[in-house]
């Protein structure tokens, strides 16, 4: 589904990603871990098409398409969803209106008619339950005045509504208490299928107790320096990132 080859990216002339290689297949969950400043958020921003970053080398193929040639909105329409680390507030725009616009834009891209109002409402209700989102939040302005936990839950709610092919969760666990974490992870797990894939970017192992990855990658200094089964996350938690630094001789 996703194939990243020798990806180099920089911002303001400073190279952050220094040759990333990553293969993600349908049905898989990949975890990307790493210390602060290792390039985790840069990787998610580059995948989503944030213009501030310049890709200097390498390629990204998504479902057979050259992702780097697509605009951010077309990437979203092709099925890439980024759950933001810091979800943005849009005052005056209701969540419902926002999602209806997004959903119908994606449908239009695929040559489909806008969704019927009653189907949309049914979907809204169903997905709200999935992340135990208060019905009132759906009618409030996008993320405006939401608590940190509500914002994160809203991201997963949006993900459920838009039904992406590849979901990238950028530090979705940060700022969540244990109950919210359980709910968010539960939502992600329920959305999992053999046709979609998830990349979980996280600092801590704790989220991976709930969303169990097939592969864990360690990102360090702009490169994936180690990959392994889910146990690798536990090892990291136990030994800290220093052991990786020693291992790669940094």
């Amino acid at each position: 589904m996703l194939s990243i080859k020798n990806l180099h990216a920089s911002i303001g002339g400073k190279e952050i990603l220094k040759g990333i290689n990553l293969e993600v297949k349908a049905g898989e969950v990949h975890a990307i871990m790493g210390p602060n400043g290792s390039g985790k958020s840069t990787l998610s921003a580059v995948l989503a098409g944030r213009e501030d970053y310049e890709v200097t080398e390498g390629s990204i193929t998504f479902n057979g398409k050259n992702l780097l040639e697509l605009s951010p909105e077309d990437r979203a329409r092709e099925g890439i969803f980024l759950a933001f680390q810091y979800p943005i507030e849009i005052p005056g725009v209701s969540n419902v209106n926002f999602l209806k616009t997004a959903l119908n834009e994606i449908r239009a891209y695929k040559g489909l008619e806008p969704m019927e109002a009653k189907d949309f409402l049914a979907r809204l209700k169903e997905k709200q339950k999935l992340v135990e989102l208060d019905g009132k939040l759906a009618n409030r302005s996008v993320n405006e005045g939401f608590s940190g936990g509500e914002k994160k839950r809203n991201e997963i709610f949006q993900m459920a509504m838009l039904d992406p092919c590849l979901a990238i969760l950028d530090e979705t666990d940060s700022g969540l208490d244990i109950d919210a974490l359980r709910i968010v992870a539960g939502g992600v797990n329920k959305l999992k299928s053999k046709d979609n894939a998830t990349i979980v970017i996280t600092h801590y192992q704790r989220l991976l107790d709930y969303i169990v990855p097939d592969v864990v990658h360690v990102l360090f200094n702009g490169k994936i320096v180690k990959s392994g089964p889910k146990e690798l996350a536990l090892e990291l938690e136990e030994k800290g990132y220093d052991f990786i630094k020693e291992e790669v001789g940094a």
Binding site: D52, P72, E73, F84, G92
Partner: protein
Amino acid sequence: MANEILEDQIGGEYKYGFVTDIEADNAPKGLNEDIIRFISKKKNEPEWMLEYRLKAFRYWLTLEEPHWAHVSYTKPNFQDIIYYSAPKPKVQLNSLDEVDPELLKTFEKLGISIEEQKRLSGVESRIAVDIVMDSVSVKTTFKETLSEKGIIFCSFGEAVQEHPELIKKYMGSVVPYTDNFYAALNSAVFTDGSFCYIPKGVRCPMELSTYFRINASGTGQFERTLIIADEGGYVSYLEGCTAPMRDENQLHAAVVEIVTHKNAEVKYSTVQNWYPGDKEGKGGIFNFVTKRGICLEDNSKISWTQVETGSAVTWKYPSVILKGDNSVGEFYSVAVTNNYQQADTGTKMMHLGKNTRSTIISKGISAGFSNNSYRGLVRIAKGASNARNFSQCDSLLMGDKCGAHTFPYIEIKDKSAVVEHEATTSKIGEDQLFYCKQRGIDNEKAIGLIVNGYCKEVLNKLPMEFAVEAQKLLAVSLEGSVG
């Protein structure tokens, strides 16, 4: 010389798009007492009206153009303007089929389809329309239906003929010709406009609307609107304006007066879309307008709602004098400036009566190289006990070459007053846009979404028919302004 210009005007083919190609009956360029007599004669006015005009003109001659607004432009040459231009032949149009299709098309864009109205006749939600093109009113619809209820809705010129007692009583009672430079000019040379009178205890069953269009080249538009709601009366009034694209700057200097008697209410909504000039700032309308209402008696209410997207330069402060006790004044405004547009707009709330309340919600949006200023005055007079005002002025910036300014003035002479003022300035963030894009929404749609969200409190105040169009208009006005 004058004849040549006249011929040129009448015989010449319009070179610019979106101009209704109608022959016009013009006055020669320039302004003097003869021109005023010419206008008055053309309109077959009684002597007292001519006298009023001449007094205003003589007063105007003693005035200087105002310079305090935060705008800069080349001062219009008042001798280079045609003050009267009437579509020719000047006959009353008898059916809608005679209205120019180009006009109808523009109408539909504004969400007021007169064709639709014809089909919907008998249905409750209707709009009665007065169309003012250049200097004269060309068509007023639904006049008969309204007159059954005693409502008078006609062109200003007609009102001077048919209801001189009302005109004499109210004209200039809210905006006297001595008020300011452009009000004096308007009082001297105004050519037409709309007149509306709601009798005692009558709720106007439909929206009343005036649609203004500047069509002829080299002309100025100086219309007057006068709305009176007698005791317990209610009316919702809509105003729309457009002008063709021209390289020259054209002057629009209107006067709007509203009077509400006891327990009466007038809602006045404007979607102003005069030609704003091109991307380089060439051409466009100078919109120098005086709009004011007076809550003359107790428990009355005047509400201004405006969506301002057009004009090269705007200078406009729809205001309310709260004279009656317990009267209410409201001002809801969205002003958008893009490219090289300049807007200095806001309101004045003058509290004279007891327990008077006013609300000001102003949303400015600046893009391109434009400048957008809010200027507002809240004055609480001595004896206006328990007066309350709430003001909220928000500015939204798009890009880093535009300006937003806020000039709030507050004068309080009564200790029991409660006045609140809130102001915010924000920028459409790259972050907001990226967030939308990441959900599959493209740049233009995202801007539309964000801007409409930002203006929601004001757009909600517009009548349904206008709200949808206003939303679209906002998106169109800001097209290509970010990214």
